[in-house]
């Protein structure tokens, strides 16, 4: 804790500092940043980049092979595969981002709250979180979605709630750590309210730690949604989503056609890229880069 609280001397110019930081990143992290930027661009500009519409049926023949008109052929319903791949970036990433944001807010608020209030409130929330975490996420999500139905809203909510348990754990632990420090105790002795302490004393000090968790959780959420869609309970047709694109076209694999693997590879690439960046930031924060 002591270490992570250490303040780096403020750079005279934040922007310049950031540039320098990026410059000092190892190749894997730089590679990650480039890939993430490309994905972001594709997601933002999807309608401009895609040659055809997301749900537009362009061919009467399903599984049309690669051609000049349809660079990656067509899917099981005769829609342009490349276009769906591009729109898929937008759908998959935005849903995962939204889910991450919701779970981050829920988890951190509850975590800091439980750490500062303590006692029975902390006990009850922590037990509940333990119970939720004692079922593998995928199993829990499958169960809830099969009962409530697989709408995008349900999907986002259930995954957000389940992932918030991770943020809760880490935020609570970090907040407990900080709360045991003298400056928090001093604020109590001074007569500050719990809310003031949470906002002014605790939160700024746990932010760096929980932010690095954010990147990692985004990856897990992203992979989870893909897996659910692949299993047929995630994002529902006709929305283009990478996981379900793999499932819908899986029959091609037995014929030796690699097209269905492309969306799967797209998922993997983004997750790898994000993890490379997160890993570098984590190492930097814990000072593990210094030796070796």
């Amino acid at each position: 804790m002591q270490q992570s609280l250490e303040v780096r001397s403020a750079a005279p110019n934040r922007f310049l500092g950031t540039l320098k930081l990026v410059g000092s990143a190892p190749p894997s992290a730089k590679f990650g940043m480039v890939i993430v930027a490309i994905y972001a661009l594709v997601a933002l500009l999807a309608p401009l980049l895609a040659p055809y519409g997301e749900v537009e049926v362009v061919s009467r023949v399903p599984f049309e092979p690669w051609s000049a008109n349809h660079l990656l052929g067509t899917d099981q319903l005769g829609r342009d595969f490349l276009s769906r791949l591009i729109f898929g970036a937008r759908n998959s990433i935005s849903i995962a981002l939204l889910t991450t944001a919701i779970s981050f807010v829920i988890g951190c608020l509850l975590g800091v709250f439980a750490a500062l209030v303590g006692g029975i409130v902390d006990q009850v929330i922590s037990r509940l979180v333990d119970a939720l975490m004692s079922v593998p996420d995928l199993i829990f999500t499958l169960m809830i979605l099969s009962i409530f139905g697989s709408s995008v809203l349900n999907l986002i909510l259930i995954i957000a709630v389940l992932t918030s348990t991770r943020f809760y754990r880490i935020a609570r632990a970090a907040a407990l750590n900080v709360a045991s420090l003298d400056f928090v105790e001093h604020a109590k002795v001074r007569g500050e309210s719990l809310l003031w302490i949470a906002v002014n004393e605790v939160f700024p000090n746990i932010l760096p730690l929980i932010l690095s968790e954010l990147g990692m959780r985004f990856c897990f959420i992203f992979l989870n949604i893909a897996a659910l869609s692949f299993l047929g309970v995630g994002i529902q047709p006709p929305t283009a989503e990478w996981g379900s694109m793999v499932r819908d076209n899986a029959a091609l694999i037995n014929m030796g056609d690699i097209t269905p693997l492309i969306p799967a590879a797209a998922i993997a690439f983004l997750a790898i890229a994000v993890n490379f960046v997160v890993d570098w930031l984590l190492n930097r924060a814990s000072g593990l880069n210094d030796d070796a």
């Binding site: 079922v135 593998p136 992979l223 692949f230 047929g232 309970v233 899986a250 993997a268």
Partner: protein, 321 residues
């Protein structure tokens, strides 16, 4: 040691208590999820065309007219004895799941039996040669492979080994009539895929667990006593890392469980995961409940074992003042 209760016993008892509490809360969540089911449970069983009278009769038969809490207790009691009730298809849930449970157990245990020792060994090697090429290579490649979706791994494995090289069958449909050799042969691809998926997680976390022990002052002290690096890792760090490693392994079995579901679907392997996905598609709630409860109980059980291992391996608890 003394006539008073040993701290290990009381610690272990409290962990078992917490595990049971978790299981209880989980079962409560799983059970009460049904009450959110649109439409009544009885009409779901009888189907769309059931008459109101038939529905009412079914409700009485299933005891749905009793208070919610009594129904939960009855359900829990039955589940404890292995009776998970009737599926919406009318057959007992356990008759559906039972044989598949065995298949999944075989698949998971073979994978775990290979993955656990292998990943601990690799984790130790990484920690020992920290920062060297091997460590960097394994760190980067495992980081990459935890980011790859399970089904991608599965299809690549299938594409290469089954479709292109035709070494193994792409479908792992094993049946009771098959000989053991044939069954194992068909299980190679699912096992290989599962291994690739969970090894990466386990190696990373074992390495981290050992490295965090390696940051202790007594490790520096061992170096200052001139102990060779190999002995520092094996003799000084490892005995203290047993607990953390056990927890890491148990936590990572979650990836095994969710991996099993996806991989059984890809390779059409007749296990519980497959059954659960089928039930999810048919919205056969009793089967889903049973599967969820089995997976949750298994996971809670693993973590309990890990907890107890770390308690027992802690000298401070083992040899109280």
């Amino acid at each position: 040691m003394t006539t008073k209760s040993h701290p290990i016993l009381s610690m272990a008892a409290s962990r078992i208590g917490l595990g049971l509490l978790s299981l209880l809360i989980v079962s409560l969540i799983i059970f009460s999820a049904v009450s959110f089911l649109p439409g009544s449970y009885a009409s779901a069983i009888l189907g769309q065309n059931a008459t109101p009278a038939a529905v009412a009769a079914m409700e009485v038969k299933l005891g749905l007219n009793r208070p919610w809490f009594l129904r939960y207790l009855a359900w829990l009691g039955a589940a404890a004895t292995g009776d998970m009730g009737l599926s919406f298809s009318g057959r007992p849930v356990m008759a559906l799941i039972g044989p598949r449970l065995k298949n999944t157990l075989v698949l998971a245990s073979i994978t775990a039996a290979i993955a656990v020792p292998l990943s601990i060994a690799l984790g130790i090697v990484c920690a020992r040669y920290r920062g060297r090429f091997l460590d960097k290579f394994l760190s980067t490649s495992t980081l990459a492979s935890i980011s790859i979706p399970e089904f991608f791994v599965a299809y690549v494995v299938m594409m290469v080994l089954a479709v292109k090289l035709q070494l193994f069958p792409s479908m792992a449909g094993i049946r009771n009539g098959m000989g053991l050799g044939e069954q194992l042969y068909r299980m190679v691809l699912p096992i290989l895929t599962l291994l690739l998926v969970i090894l990466a997680h386990m190696v990373r976390n074992t390495r981290a667990a050992i490295l965090s022990v390696m940051a202790s002052p007594y490790i520096e002290m061992a170096r200052l006593k001139g102990e060779p690096e190999k002995r520092v890792v094996v003799r000084q760090a490892l005995p203290n890392a047993i607990g953390p490693i056990a927890s890491v392994v148990a936590l990572n079995l979650a990836y095994l469980i969710s991996g099993v579901v996806v991989i059984e679907v890809v390779f059409v392997y007749p296990g519980v995961g497959q059954a659960m996905i089928d039930a999810v598609r048919n919205r056969d709630v009793p089967v889903i409940q049973a599967c969820a409860l089995i997976f949750a109980a298994a996971y809670i059980g693993f973590n309990l074992i890990a907890d107890i291992i770390s308690i027992v391996s802690n000298p401070r608890l083992l040899h109280p003042r």
